[in-house]
């Protein structure tokens, strides 16, 4: 259904992410350009002080849709490979929430694909953020990106 055979380009992770492990599969002797994006948990959002947050997903659909996004990136841009991992569960300020890495021969395609992936993941993949604010209240965020 995802059309990408054995390579799992998109993953959800309940565990903290290691940049080094995420990067490892992307080294490539034809690659001249590596572009990456990381979403980190900020200490504020919309003017409110954030204490921490929690991500939940509809996992089976999030994985299918995430893989679809990465398949689209592979076919639309002149890139050699692309990966994306999104955290689930509880995260603290500064934690890595999402990582995108792209390798290509040249930089324009690497940048374009990287941006496409994070834009589409944020718009389409069923993952939701629950923020806890300083002061004690909390709430689900819905699609303001």
């Amino acid at each position: 259904m995802s059309g990408q055979g054995a390579v799992l380009r998109f993953r959800l992770s309940e565990q903290p992410l290691s940049i080094e492990l995420l990067r490892a599969p992307l080294s490539h002797s034809q690659a001249g350009a590596f572009a990456s994006f990381e979403g980190w948990v900020r200490d504020h959002n919309d003017g409110r002080a954030v204490q921490g947050l929690h991500y939940e997903a509809y996992a089976v659909l999030a994985e299918a849709e995430g893989r679809r996004v990465l398949d689209e990136a592979m076919s639309r841009f002149a890139i050699l490979d692309v990966r994306c991992v999104h955290r689930l569960g509880d995260l603290a300020i500064g934690d890595l929430a999402v990582w995108v890495g792209v390798v290509a021969a040249h930089r324009a395609a690497a940048f374009d694909a990287c941006r496409y992936v994070i834009d589409e993941v944020k718009a389409r993949v069923p993952i939701w953020k629950h923020e806890r604010y300083v002061g004690g209240d909390a709430g689900w965020l819905h699609g303001s990106g």
């Binding site: 979403g39 999030a62 999104h86 939701w128 953020k129 689900w140 819905h142 990106g145």
Partner: protein, 81 residues
């Protein structure tokens, strides 16, 4: 004639319903009708055009008929990343 389904709720929809999933016996003709029933019963708060719907782990159309034994998820606007 009614159909038995499993319904999943996420994020603020789950908060509004108070449960993450439930078994539902519905006589609605399509997924939009199923949402109307559940919204009327439980005040789910989201207008249907702002939601997406999935059946058995794949996005579906709101006018798709209900399938016996399927898993239906209502998807509020996502906020990953």
């Amino acid at each position: 004639m009614s159909v038995s389904l499993r319904v999943l709720y996420f994020a603020s929809l789950r908060q509004a319903r108070g449960v993450a999933s439930e078994s539902v016996l519905s006589s609605a003709t399509d997924l939009a009708g199923l949402y109307r029933e559940l919204d009327a019963a439980h005040a789910l708060r989201w207008p249907q055009p702002q939601l997406r719907v999935a059946v058995d782990g794949a996005f579906a159309r709101w006018d798709a008929p209900l399938r016996e034994g399927s898993e239906v998820a209502f998807i509020p606007p996502v906020s990953g990343g």
